[in-house]
Structures are given as structure tokens and as C-alpha cells.
């Protein structure tokens, strides 16, 4: 029973790792970036290539995945994303879906449509038991990374001036500029961070969710659920939302497998009805 709790948390953390980049771009920048999954996929493929072709160890390929996705993020931000900020959410949806389509077909063309795999180092394989709870090493590793990420992101966005300047820029870019906030630079940095996190998430997720060209479409719904339920105004929101959804999903499927697929959706709808602005929306009356 406790094992299943652990699994639930781990699953939640994987959701978080995939979603947290999105909660940076979509949540903090208010940009509906459905192409998030494409950046995740990019990170995944970079990790795969780094390990297969360059023979790099797994740990070394993770920062590489982050950097590659962040770099591509910066370039794309400069070239095509920037004019999108001022457009409507619907336009952003369409634009980023377009990018996803291109990424899916492009990856297919470059890398083939088959699943990609990585080989984890031995110390991350298998599981061990503490007090009767079976703990997968890799899952524990993911939980640890996520915890760190959540804490540092939360700190970065709420406790620093960077965070409040960013939120100001999102609230009203025109006035923020007029008051001397370097909106473009803030957005570029944040976007790179969001993309980089997506890339990292993609690399971490390969082992658990697989990687193929349809990845950005297949998991889009999950990213969105996490960010919406968590609310778009903080990092802690998506963190707890991911945890809650992960636990509910895993527990639900374990206890009543017949209801398996319903649980996550039903829970999402219910939570959104009770808290339309997300679990941890900031002080709305």
C-alpha cells in the first residue's frame, strides 16, 4: 500500500517535471505555449543522441538537454515567438499547435518514427526496500530533482525582484516598458528557462514514458491539466496539483482499475469547478 503511495508521488513528480516548464511560459508569461511538448521532445532526443552517439553518461546528458532546449527556445523566441505575445490566446494556440505539427513531422523525418530508448546507469536501475516499501531508484531520483526544482523556482519567482518584474510585464507590457522594465529581455530569459525545463523534463521522462515523434501531442493534455489545476500564478500550485493528480490517478487505478481512465479527468473537472482559477490562485476573492 505504501509502495503505491510512493509510486503515486513519483508519477506526480514526472507530471510536474513535464509541466513546470509550461507553468513558467504559460503560467507566468501568460503565453499559451502548446509547443511545450516539442521542447520536451527536443530535450529527450538530445539526451538520447548524447548517450547513443557521443557515449555521454546519463547525468551529463541532462544538462545538455536543458541547454539545447533553452538555446532553441531563445532563438525561436527572438524569431517567431515575440510577435505572438501581443496576440490573442487563440492565435497563440494555433501558432504553437503549428509548431508542434512541424516538430512532430520534422522529428519523424530526421529520427524515424520508432520509439527511442536510453540505458540508465546501474545505480539508477532497480529498486530497494525500506520498511517494506518498494522504492524504485529512478523514481526516487526524479522525486529528488523535482523537489529541488520546485523549491528553487518558487523562490526565484516569488522572493526575487525578477519574479515581480516578470509578473508586471505580463500584467501590462506597455506600461511596464514605460516604467523601465526590460520586458523583452525578461521574456527571453524566462522563455529560455521554460524551454530548458521542458527539455530537462523530456530527458527525465524518456525512461518512464518513452519517446517518439508523437510525444508532444500524446502528452499535451497532461501538461495542460497540471498547469490548469495548479493555477497559473505560482510554481507551487502546479507542484501540488501534479502530486495530487498523480496520487489520485495511481491510487484510483490500483484500487478500482475499472474506473481507471475517468479518475484524472473527473478530478480535474471537479477541482476546476470548485477552484476555477486553480488550486492555489493568489488571493482572489
Amino acid at each position: 500500500m505504501l509502495t503505491i503511495l510512493f509510486d503515486g508521488i513519483a508519477y506526480g513528480m514526472v507530471l510536474f517535471v513535464l509541466g513546470c516548464g509550461l507553468s513558467v511560459t504559460m503560467g507566468l508569461m501568460n503565453f499559451v505555449n502548446l509547443a511545450h511538448g516539442a521542447f520536451a521532445m527536443l530535450g529527450g532526443y538530445v539526451a538520447v543522441l548524447a548517450m547513443q552517439r557521443l557515449g555521454l553518461p546519463f547525468l551529463a546528458s541532462l544538462p545538455l538537454a536543458f541547454l539545447a532546449a533553452a538555446l532553441v527556445g531563445i532563438v525561436l523566441e527572438r524569431l517567431v515567438y515575440r510577435p505572438m505575445y501581443a496576440k490573442s490566446h487563440l492565435d497563440q494556440v494555433m501558432f504553437s499547435i503549428g509548431l508542434v505539427f512541424m516538430a512532430v513531422a520534422g522529428t519523424d523525418w530526421l529520427m524515424g518514427s520508432t520509439q527511442q530508448f536510453i540505458r540508465l546507469p546501474a545505480w539508477l536501475q532497480g529498486r530497494f526496500e525500506i520498511a517494506g516499501i518498494g522504492i524504485g531508484r529512478y523514481r526516487l531520483f526524479v522525486i529528488a530533482i523535482c523537489g529541488l526544482l520546485a523549491i528553487s523556482l518558487h523562490w526565484g519567482f516569488t522572493r526575487t525582484r525578477f519574479g515581480s518584474r516578470l509578473r508586471a510585464a505580463v500584467d501590462d507590457a506597455r506600461v511596464a516598458r514605460g516604467l523601465g522594465i526590460p520586458v523583452n529581455r525578461l521574456f527571453a530569459v524566462t522563455f529560455a528557462l521554460g524551454s530548458g525545463l521542458a527539455g530537462l523534463g523530456g530527458a527525465l521522462g524518456i525512461e518512464l514514458m518513452g519517446l517518439d515523434p508523437t510525444f508532444p501531442l500524446k502528452f499535451m493534455i497532461y501538461f495542460l491539466i497540471v498547469v490548469t489545476v495548479g493555477g497559473t500564478s505560482s510554481i507551487t500550485g502546479p507542484f501540488f496539483a501534479a502530486m495530487l493528480l498523480g496520487l489520485a490517478d495511481v491510487l484510483g487505478k490500483y484500487l478500482v482499475p475499472q474506473l481507471g481512465a475517468f479518475i484524472i479527468y473527473a478530478l480535474m473537472v471537479m477541482l476546476l469547478i470548485i477552484r476555477p482559477h486553480g488550486l492555489f490562485a493568489r488571493g482572489r476573492a
Partner: protein, 335 residues
Amino acid sequence: MSAAAFEARVREALRAGRRWYPAEFLFWLAAFAAFLLLPGQLLLLNEVAILALFALSLDLVLGYAGIVSLGHAAFLGMGAYAAGLLARHVTADPLAGLACGMAAAGLLGLATSPLVLRGSDLTRLMVTLGVALILYELANSFASVTGGADGLQGIMMAPVLGLFDFDLFGRTAYLYSLSVLFLLFLVARRVVGSPFGLSLRAIRDNPLRASASGVPNGRRLAAVYALAAAYAGAAGALLAQTTQFVSLDVLDFHRSADLMLVLIIGGAGYLYGGLVGAIAFKLLQDGIASLTPQYWMFWIGLFLVLFVLGGREVIHGAVRAVVGRVARFGRGAAR
């Protein structure tokens, strides 16, 4: 200016919204003429007409009431299954099936409308999406009724109005779908130009001011949501009847997502957006897919990106120019 003269001006201005433009006549003329001009493409055209009706439905809620929905497939699916099941178990009459599909989807819309009344765009997107996904899982679980993943087999439709049999070439199918689309379009056109339609725009623009002006926001939104759901149900029924098959796919996420693209391509909030978008989207998809079956997605994606990045202005500019010319021509002819 006298009070009476000013009243006349006000009346005139209020009428402007519902006047028919020459380009509109041309549009529908072309749609019906396609039946004769493109006999080899009727199946595709039928799909276009159904998608257009589906997009019209989304335009009603998105373009006129400002409710974004990523779960419109729920209503399409509801309509399709209702019509399909009716045909299998009760009567094979297409019009009865159409009515049944619309009613079933409309009721579902009414029942789920409380869910979309609150919250931000994003919340609405996800709640509607959630409803559609739940419906998908339900349809999958109740395989004894819906046929599950294998789809609903053995739908045999009677002739439309007892006269026109569905044929392999899609002749009846296209005319039938197009007629339904046209009639429902007329209704929608009337509705959006009515006081009711005006109040929807009011809610979309500023819900706070709308309720301070005496508009019962919740009820109006529920009403239009149910209406749109019925439209989507009609599209679903047409789909079920003209393909004589229903599968889980009608409830799938990509339906709703494609629909969104269709409407954004065409532009929301003027009724023709969905229709134009449906034509553009299908032709594009079909055209590119037959050129490069493996990588059409790439080109569609590129199109979408370029479209948003500036292509829209170019296209809409061109369309406006054409419409303007037609209008001038129409006025010239009228003189």
C-alpha cells in the same frame, strides 16, 4: 435633425447588421453549384459541409459568447451516437435521426453548461476538454451500446424524405448535409442579429457591465451553449448518417483541436469564419496529404505558423478586396 429623421438613422444602423451582402449570395450559390461542378469531390465536400456546421457551432459560443471550448467533440459524438443508435434500433429515417442527435446533444449542452459559466479561458478549455474525455471513456466502457473501440456497426439509413437514397458517390450525402447546413446557418444568422444575440456580445465584451445592464449572464450563456451543442449534434448526426458508421473517434481530442484551428483560420464572430475555415482546412489537409502522405503534418504546421505570423492579414486583405469588388459589382448591377 428632427427626432423622426434621427430615429430613421438609428433604425437603419441597426438593420445594417443583418443585411445580406452580394458576396453571401455568391457563397451559397457556389456551394450548391459545386454539386454539379465537382461530381468527383462530393465525398470531400460532404465532409467539408459537416465540418463547417461543426465550426458554426463553435463560432456561436466562441465568436459570439466568448466561451472557449476544447471539448466540442463531446456534442459531435453525442449527436453521432444518438443518430446512429436511433437508426439501428428505432427508425432509419434521416430527419428523425437528425432531430434526435440535435436534441441529445442540446440536452447534454444544457446539462454541462453550468461548468463553463465560471472561470478563465484556460479553465473553460480544460473543463470542456475534461467533459469530452470523460464522454470518450464512457463510450469506450459501454461497448455493449456503442460498440466500443470497434465502432457502431450496421447503420442503414433510409432515403432522405423517403426519396433520395444515400449513394456511393456521395450525391445525396452532400446535398443533404449542405441543405441542413444552410438552414441552420439561416437560423444562426437570425439569432445573432436578434436582441438575444446582442446580449451575448455584451457578455463577451464585458460580463460585469452586461449584468449591470440587466442581462442574466448565466442563463444566456447556458442557452447559447445548449444551442451550439445542438448544432454540433446536428453535425454529428450528419456524420453518422452519411458515413453510416460511428466510432470513438468522433469523441476524440483531435476533433475539438482541429475544430479550433478551423475557426481561428476562418476568424470567429462573423458566422462565415467556420465555413471558410472548414473549406480551407479540409482542402489544405487533403491537398497536402495526397502530395506527401507521410509529412503533411509538417506543411500544415508551417501553414498555421505563417498564417498567424502575418499570413492572415494577407489572406483576409485579399478576401476583403474580392468581397468589395463583388459588392461594388452587385450595387452596379442593382442600378
